[in-house]
């Protein structure tokens, strides 16, 4: 019972945050509402007992991605202008695409059988993740570091052109 209540609360936090993202008049406030939505999703992860994922959600999405979005808003010309409009003539097209995506997702979720495994949950997820970085996923692990390097160097080249 308590779990259901917690689920409803976190879902409401995520949904209200997402709703505010698309309805607030200022892009900056949208970015802040996105943080609220991320926190709600982190709560849902905890309810699913995916604690590492929840910690990453807070650390990376709330900590880094939200900061990136907020900084992107404050360094963009005219976006911080109080007179700037957050909506334009294209809003109904975007709504159409979003509604279509929603229908596809609902259809897919209804169609997939979602098999339930009887096997016990792995006891130490973080440990098995860490050992797979040395074994199975050694090359992807190193490629991630290359990807991060490319992101950093590319951003510096774009942001510092004079």
């Amino acid at each position: 019972m308590a779990l259901q209540i917690a689920f409803v609360i976190f879902s409401l936090i995520a949904l209200i945050g997402a709703f505010l993202v698309v309805t607030t008049r200022r892009l900056f406030h949208s970015a802040l509402a996105l943080v609220l939505s991320f926190v709600g999703v982190a709560g849902l992860y905890i309810l699913l007992e995916a604690e590492f994922l929840a910690a990453l959600q807070i650390l990376i999405y709330v900590g880094a991605i939200a900061i990136l979005i907020i900084f992107a808003v404050i360094v963009t010309r005219h976006l911080m202008d109080p007179k700037a409009r957050a909506f334009n003539e294209q809003w109904w097209r975007a709504a159409l695409v979003a509604a279509g995506l929603f229908l596809i997702l609902v259809f897919t979720i209804a169609k997939v059988p979602w098999p339930v495994s009887e096997a016990p949950l792995p006891t130490n997820v973080i440990f098995s993740m860490g050992s797979s970085f040395v074994g199975t996923y050694l090359v992807p692990f190193e490629v991630i570091s290359v990807l991060l390097m490319v992101a950093l160097v590319g951003a510096i080249i774009i942001a510092r052109e004079r």
């Binding site: 990376i60 860490g130 970085f133 510092r160």
Partner: protein, 118 residues
């Protein structure tokens, strides 16, 4: 296991309640006759000079991006650190390469002066 999160939930509620009660109670009992002096932001910062909603310098974005890159790196280093005791030398070499590539990126940012405030 989820019961442990009950404490976090209670703390979250308390930390939400304290400012709400404080501000709400002050709003409830305070007299509402304002004058310009009373509305000044006494000991709460300075009046902004010019517009508040201005465009900031793009250099802030590089700092945010460097932070994001190393934040993601932490996410990969934590499982490695948990498993390190039982993995041996391969794990060490693995992460030295991982960090080496990222250190190259940081060295590049440093060399290009992206971290200097000009």
């Amino acid at each position: 296991m989820l019961n442990q999160y009950l404490f976090i939930g209670i703390l979250a509620l308390a930390s939400f309640a304290v400012p709400v009660i404080g501000i709400g109670f002050a709003w409830l009992i305070s007299p509402k006759r304002a004058n310009p002096l009373k509305r000044s932001i006494y000991e709460c910062g300075l009046e902004t000079i010019g517009e508040t909603w201005v465009q900031f310098r793009v250099q802030y974005y590089i700092y945010a991006l460097v932070f994001a890159v190393f934040d993601v790196e932490i996410a990969f280093l934590l499982p490695w650190a948990v498993a390190y005791n039982r993995l041996g030398l391969v794990a060490l070499v693995d992460v030295v390469i991982f960090l080496g590539i990222l250190a190259t990126a940081l060295a590049y940012a440093w060399r290009k002066g992206a971290l200097r405030w000009s």
